[in-house]
């Protein structure tokens, strides 16, 4: 008796599953354009847990703010109707393989428009899946130039490429430092992005007449960079440039103190603009020069966010924290995708792709215009310096809030 019930139950479940499955499929076929009901569906695989959870959360905030601002305005104009922006998030656990799989899942669900994951490794993995599936992705934070050398046609990045990250620091320091540094040591994490950024920096340093006395690497996300510092100590470099993430960036300044490494100044990618950097180092953070994709002083405006200052104010109101560049990148990526959909008058991935490749606009994030490989080459990066515990934009000059304080150590 009991087993008969069980069998009936199982059969019922199976039948239901088939029916529901079929319905799901039917739904997809009818609305292949990416618009379901009055919603424009966009997928984002983000690092919500794992080692990049912090940056992933910031990127998500940018996407969220974009969705809210767009929908406040009535939504996205697609042809003659307005639809609400609806971004679906899934967690790639900071693992590139997972990011790629999630992109496939989105594709299976008929989601063709994608906002990028956090970081170069995940973006690189996701890009391959996007290209294969005929989706289109706007990359918010994958800056490694490798992503753009594979001939992909459906990946567009709003941010400046990795080679600019250290180069802009060299430029900012060599422009106004007095006395000028003569020698430089490069310390880099061993991931693709940091290595590419360091290569760009070495090139810029040589061009600026600096002598490169050392190039050392260590594993990414390590908190111990003492080996590299011990090796460069005897070279007494005037400048130490770190192509790093937050942990290694903090470790370079901290362990330099411990080991008695005293250059005229430090420059680092990624870490200095973060509150974590200033909090962990306290006074030792002062004088460190950093590079950033965006500051609230960036020139330009757009119809959704207004100017960079407007964006910063909205962000502060929404998340009760100071706006920083990861979330701005996210918001800018989302902005580019929305503008492209409106321009294309359709959510069809091919039409959106064509609209993206023709996009040429000002925004709160600076100019957005993609070259053939999908890089946003018109946007300059900015350089900042920590001065008395605050992040001050020092370069390019049209954004500068303060002058470079030099030498950059001992304050």
């Amino acid at each position: 008796m009991r087993s008969a019930h069980l069998r009936f139950g199982l059969a019922l479940v199976l039948v239901l599953a088939v029916v529901v499955g079929a319905c799901g499929k039917g739904g997809d076929d009818e609305e292949e354009s990416g618009i379901k009901g009055d919603k424009l569906e966009i997928g984002a695989a983000l690092s919500l847990t794992g080692s990049l959870a912090k940056e992933g959360a910031l990127t998500k905030q940018g996407y969220q703010l974009c969705q809210e601002k767009v929908n406040e305005r009535g939504g996205v104009r697609v042809g003659d109707k307005k639809v609400k922006l609806a971004i679906t998030y899934s967690d790639d656990k900071s693992e590139p393989d997972t990011a790629a799989r999630l992109i496939d899942n989105f594709n299976d669900d008929g989601v063709k428009l994608i906002l990028g994951p956090y970081g170069s490794p995940s973006t690189e993995a996701a890009a391959a899946a996007v290209e294969r599936n005929g989706q289109v992705m706007v990359d918010s934070s994958g800056a490694d130039d490798n992503i753009f050398t594979k001939g992909y046609k459906t990946i567009f990045a709003v941010l400046s490429p990795a080679t600019d990250y250290v180069a802009i620091i060299v430029e900012a320091i060599m422009k106004s430092a007095n006395p000028k540094p003569k020698t430089v040591a490069f310390l880099s994490a061993d991931d693709g992005f940091s290595q590419t950024a360091a290569e760009g920096g070495v090139e810029a340093a040589k061009k600026a007449g600096l002598e490169v006395v050392a190039e050392e690497s260590f594993p990414e996300h390590t908190t111990d960079v003492s080996s590299a510092l011990t090796k460069v100590r005897d070279e007494k470099p005037d400048l130490i440039l770190g192509s790093v993430h937050v942990e290694e960036g903090i470790a370079i300044v901290k362990q330099s103190r411990e080991l008695g490494v005293t250059p005229m100044g430090f420059g680092e990618t990624v870490a200095p603009p973060t509150p974590d950097f200033r909090e962990a180092l306290g006074d030792a953070a002062n004088g460190v020069v950093g590079s950033t994709q965006w500051t609230a002083q960036v020139k330009g405006q757009d119809e959704i966010f207004g100017t960079a200052t407007d964006y910063a104010a909205d962000y502060k109101k929404r998340f009760d924290a100071d706006a920083e560049y990861h979330s701005a990148e996210g918001a800018a990526a989302c902005l580019a995708l929305v503008l492209a959909v409106e321009e294309a008058g359709s959510a069809d991935s091919e039409k959106v792709r064509d609209a993206l490749s023709g996009l040429d606009t000002e925004s709160f994030f600076g100019p957005i215009k993609f070259d053939d490989t999908g890089k946003n080459v018109t946007k300059p990066m900015s350089a900042i310096q920590i001065q008395s515990g605050d992040v001050k934009t020092i370069y390019p000059e049209d954004q500068a809030e303060a002058k470079l304080q030099w030498p950059g150590t001992g304050g």
């Binding site: 590299a228 100590r233 411990e258």
Partner: protein, 294 residues
Amino acid sequence: MSQFLQATVYGLLEGGLLALVAVGFSLVWGVMNIVNLAHGAFVITGAYIAWKLNTELGLDPYLGMLVSAAALFLAGYLVQRLLINQVVNAPIWMTLLLTFGLDLLIVQGLQLLFTADFRAIKTSWGTEGLALGDVRVPYGRLAGFGLAVAVTVALVWFMTRTRTGLAIRTTGMDRAAARLMGVNVRHVYALTFGLSAALAGMAGAILGSINTFSPSAAGGFTLQSFVIAVLGGLGNMWGALAGGILLGLVQAWGGQYLSGTLVNAIAFGVLVLVLIVRPAGLVGRPYYEARAEA
């Protein structure tokens, strides 16, 4: 030469910190045959407790570590008594699964509570140091090293000179016999696990004052502890210190004379080498290595 000396001193100090992290892990593995995959999560929890005490009350991490240790002792005792004791007789997979789940739970919980931001406990003296000629000895690391040695000596004394310590070791050697001798095995297991968690909490507080940390660092600490416990050998309280110092030195020298990106490869290379030459680890007892818990 000064470069070699500096690397050696720094590696030695780093080794002490590694040992401090691993000593509790080695203890529960050696005594209870439990590979506690949540160990790193305990370390990070200890770091957050000390960090909170430091930012809210301005408490020095060397005082904060006592609070961390006490809180984690209690948590560890309860976890063992209420959770792990349920599966302690089951195949090792069950304890692995249970502690792995616990690790996920704690790490995600910490992330919800404290976000994934990187933290550091600031001390005014941590990055200052002695200068012995060209060789710098930072106070923060020196103190951490001293603590690792002190903790190890105290643990050895506790295990060999006190009744409770003897009961713990007896239980580790033969649970059935220990029970027949009147040892309350459940209590002893919980006590050992609590002690291990307390040591992890202490290590977290000190590491937090030297390095940066975030919830996602937990897995790395567990892995490090695993390597050090095997390197040093199980069943000997000096094992973690020996393993930690060896690892610290090898990584420092490797970083100087090979590539800095190879530190992990070097660490595991040394592990393999030690296992070939001395399967029981540097100072481990062969009995523990050969033991198959029934």
